[in-house]
């Protein structure tokens, strides 16, 4: 294990733990308003200050972490599921099926993802569930291509021929015998995918197209902060810093895992 994996993993686990343990880490909840202390700067009682309705920014960030992390993880699970399914089918069967699936991937790649997401959100309406599903449905192309290439190279190995010879079903060969061999790249993709999904969700929520108030998300705390950048810097600085730290740690983790699973790169670094 290298340093990058350790740093990234520890940071990611800490973030998830603090999101889960939100009620233990703060004595305020995310929606109690107190107009008398609105926009007060960070002090010992409210370590990240309060927002325009007098809500504790730190608590809103902790509860926002729950939502942002959940959206990120579920979205990636959806996209990984679609990508693994389409990629392995295309890679294993080849020929016409491969051609059809890959042309579909080409088409998806041509429409800029954020525009596609914007369009879908406008038609389906913004909500936590919709945002998760839409991000998942629009970001599976990379993993599909990756899995396809991996499956194509693994299926040439002798043990796959052996599995065919003893008459195993294709489904069994793909998911029981090929898949375990390409788990590495899948993990790498999913780690980068989480950071990408968190970034997309926060961007959408920031524009009012993602998680809707009163539910806090790192992105929509920033939206409110945007109107007070002249007076209340803490409403802009801390939530954005949280997004950055989350994205950065998942990216480092992904980077470390990529080196770990790719022996050629490891040799190069020595």
């Amino acid at each position: 294990m290298n340093k990058m994996i350790m740093t990234g993993a520890i940071a990611a686990v800490l973030l998830i733990l603090s999101a889960i343990a939100a009620p233990l880490l703060t004595s305020y909840d995310y929606k109690t308003q107190d107009i008398s202390i609105r926009l007060s700067s960070p002090d010992t009682k409210h370590i990240f200050g309060t927002d325009e309705l007098g809500r504790d920014v730190f608590s809103r960030m902790l509860y926002g972490a729950r939502i942002s992390m959940t959206v990120g993880i579920i979205a990636v699970l959806i996209s990984a599921l679609i990508g693994i399914l389409l990629g392995s089918v295309a890679g294993y069967f080849g020929g016409l099926i491969d051609n059809i699936i890959m042309r579909f991937v080409d088409i998806m790649l041509t429409i800029p993802t954020l525009f596609l997401i914007l369009m879908l959100i406008v038609f389906l309406g913004p909500s936590i569930i919709n945002v998760m599903i839409i991000i998942g449905l629009t970001s599976w192309t990379d993993i599909a291509r990756l899995i396809r290439a991996e499956v194509m190279s693994v299926k040439k190995l002798a043990y796959v021929d052996a599995a065919k010879l003893i008459g195993l079903r294709k489904r069994t060969i793909i998911f029981k015998h090929i898949m375990p061999n390409i788990l590495g790249p899948i993990f790498v993709y999913m780690t980068f995918g989480i950071s990408g999904a968190i970034l997309t969700e926060s961007g959408l929520s920031f524009l009012g197209l993602g998680v809707q108030p009163p539910y806090p998300s790192w992105g929509n705390i920033l939206t409110a902060g945007k109107d007070y950048i002249h007076t209340a810097w803490w409403m802009v600085f801390y939530p954005g810093l949280a997004i950055f730290i989350a994205v950065f740690s998942y990216n480092i983790l992904g980077e470390g895992l990529r080196d770990y699973f790719n022996p050629r790169l490891k040799k190069e670094n020595k």
């Binding site: 042309r103 579909f104 080409d106 088409i107 998806m108 790649l109 041509t110 429409i111 800029p112 993802t113 954020l114 525009f115 596609l116 914007l118 369009m119 879908l120 959100i121 406008v122 038609f123 389906l124 950071s195 970034l199 926060s202 961007g203 920031f206 524009l207 009012g208 197209l209 920033l222 902060g225 945007k226 950048i229 002249h230 810097w233 802009v236 600085f237 939530p239 954005g240 810093l241 997004i243 950055f244 994205v247 950065f248 990216n251 480092i252 980077e255 190069e268 670094n269």
Partner: protein
């Protein structure tokens, strides 16, 4: 070469058909069709224009017939009229296009210029402090949310240290400036947006150039050049650099969709009068024809970017042409 370009152009047709199918299905995703949804949400739509819309989109006809009619409009670049001001969608999109292209092309130029320099120097100084610093620096840029960085810089430049403009593409007194002043004014407004976009995009290019450069430095022709006794500068900058930059050309086209895709969050913050902001504004006002128009235009630009990348790659690398 002609044959290759022709083949490449023919490949666009199935992709175009696919785009129309996806866009069309999304329009019809909403229960009751988008005209009704719009009617419920937008008080500005009169029953009269509802009827006109229904006729325009032929919503009473069977789905396949609607699709072909829609594609026929699509081919003639007729996306209908905006719900908000009844102007043709194409006009609205086209007048926003220059600002988006200007921002993205300048950013792309900066990203490639700096990315190649960072990539090459990191490859030459592998595993030194400089290399590690640059890796971290570009990695931070890759991870930082652009809209947050934009807000922080706006805070810095608008409130604390007002030397750079933080919104729009021109100053309020743009109309009375001379041509030279106008150009300077636009460049002045470009600095912050381009800096933020470039910071985010550097990692990808510099890493690619770095590994490509390392690869060509270990190739046999490089070893042969050393053996021949060529001066090191010549080997690095003539042989290795030239060969490692070839694949970078394809990245030009490929990085366009990411930039254009990110532009709507970005343009909205900076009040940049581009296509992304138009897409966002029309999303907020449920102006469906304009949303469709911007999505189609974004896809079209991406397609064009990929085409240019492929053709320029074939131009510089004969192996591609004869495959």
């Amino acid at each position: 070469m002609k044959q290759y370009i022709l083949k490449r152009l023919l490949l666009i047709i199935p992709v175009l058909i696919g785009i129309t199918i996806i866009t069309f299905s999304i329009i019809h995703l909403t229960p009751g069709g988008f005209v009704r949804t719009n009617m419920e949400m937008n008080v500005k739509v009169s029953p009269d224009s509802m009827e006109r819309l229904k006729v325009l989109y032929g919503l009473d006809k069977p789905l396949y017939e609607q699709y072909f009619k829609w594609v026929w409009r699509f081919i003639r670049f007729d996306f209908g009229e905006s719900f908000i001001d009844n102007r043709p969608v194409l006009d609205k999109v086209l007048e926003r296009l220059p600002a988006t292209l200007l921002l993205n092309l300048v950013s792309l130029a900066v990203i490639f210029f700096l990315g190649i320099i960072i990539g090459v120097t990191s490859a030459l100084k592998r595993n030194t402090f400089y290399d590690r610093f640059m890796t971290l620096f570009t990695f931070v840029g890759y991870s930082v949310p652009t809209f947050w960085l934009a807000l922080i810089l706006m805070m810095l430049f608008a409130v604390i240290w007002p030397i750079l403009p933080v919104s729009g593409i021109t100053s309020f007194n743009f109309d009375v400036m001379s041509l030279g002043e106008q150009v300077a004014d636009v460049i002045w407004h470009l600095i912050l947006p381009v800096f933020i976009t470039a910071f985010g995009g550097l990692a990808y290019i510099s890493r690619y150039v770095k590994s490509s450069m390392i690869e060509s430095l270990t190739q046999q022709y490089t070893i042969a050049a050393y053996a021949k006794g060529l001066p090191e500068n010549k080997i690095i900058y003539k042989n290795a650099l030239k060969n490692s930059l070839l694949p970078v050309i394809t990245l030009l086209g490929l990085s366009l969709p990411g930039l254009i895709g990110g532009s709507f969050i970005f343009e909205t913050i900076f009040a940049w009068p581009g296509m992304g902001r138009l897409a966002y504004e029309s999303a907020m006002t449920f102006d469906y024809p304009v949303i469709m128009g911007t999505v189609t235009m974004a896809a079209f630009l991406t397609l064009l970017g990929n085409l240019i990348a492929d053709i320029s790659y074939a131009l510089v690398d004969p192996r591609i042409r004869y495959k």
